[in-house]
Amino acid sequence: MSSLPLPVFLVLALILFCIGLFGALTKRNAVIVLISIELMLNAVNINLVAFSKYGPNPGITGQIFSLFTITVAAAEAAVGLAILFALYRNRRTVNVNEMDQLKR
């Protein structure tokens, strides 16, 4: 049986999630904000896979959920970048602070 307990994996996922959260809230570059969101989604995937092995009901379900999450994350990245390109064509900027059309 494994010697690594469940909380070790959860703490690693928590640290990665916090790094992603900090990056998403402080960075000014829209591409970097998107990447930080991907990092947060990855941390959640670690949690799903860890619970699928060490959780109260171990089974393959957690891995299948993480596969669905990866698919949705990939779709989100593609659409987010397309929106970013459309915005860049109109405003010539990727700075998040300057994207304030809805506030005017």
Partner: protein, 172 residues
Amino acid sequence: MTGEMIAFFILALVAICGGVFMIHSENVVHMVVSLIFTFLSIAGIYILLSAEFVAVVQVLIYSGAITIIMLFGIMLTKHDPKSEKRIAKSRILAVGTGVVAFFIIMFLAINKLSFKQQDVELYVHNVKKIGIELYSKYVIPFELTSILLLVALIGAVVLAKKDESEEMNEHE
């Protein structure tokens, strides 16, 4: 100290170092490249958790596709390295305090967590099990995912395409 623990600590160290380097780097391309290391070591952690198929998918989609897409996004837009420096110190401090508070709260919650370890053999015929489960229990979500991917594909093409009318105006 077993081999599994050593592998875990090396992978976790690489993952966290990649993330921290992403936060601290000035160059945008370096940020993305450092994240590749994070994604690859997360794939290694999936293997430790006996999820081989998810690990391979992680390498293909995250360190392959998403990183390349983000590099394209960086290369097709203009980046001003000075604008990154003009972030107010007070803002970083406020966000940092919030994130650290979140970390402490979640850490206290996680710390005491323990379940009775049960023997499961997820690593035996991993891909076969995933396939059987996916096509028997999760058929409808699987098909919906294909529709979602189609919608995302068409949506991305429509959004990123240059407007015909806009182009006409530019020529006039």
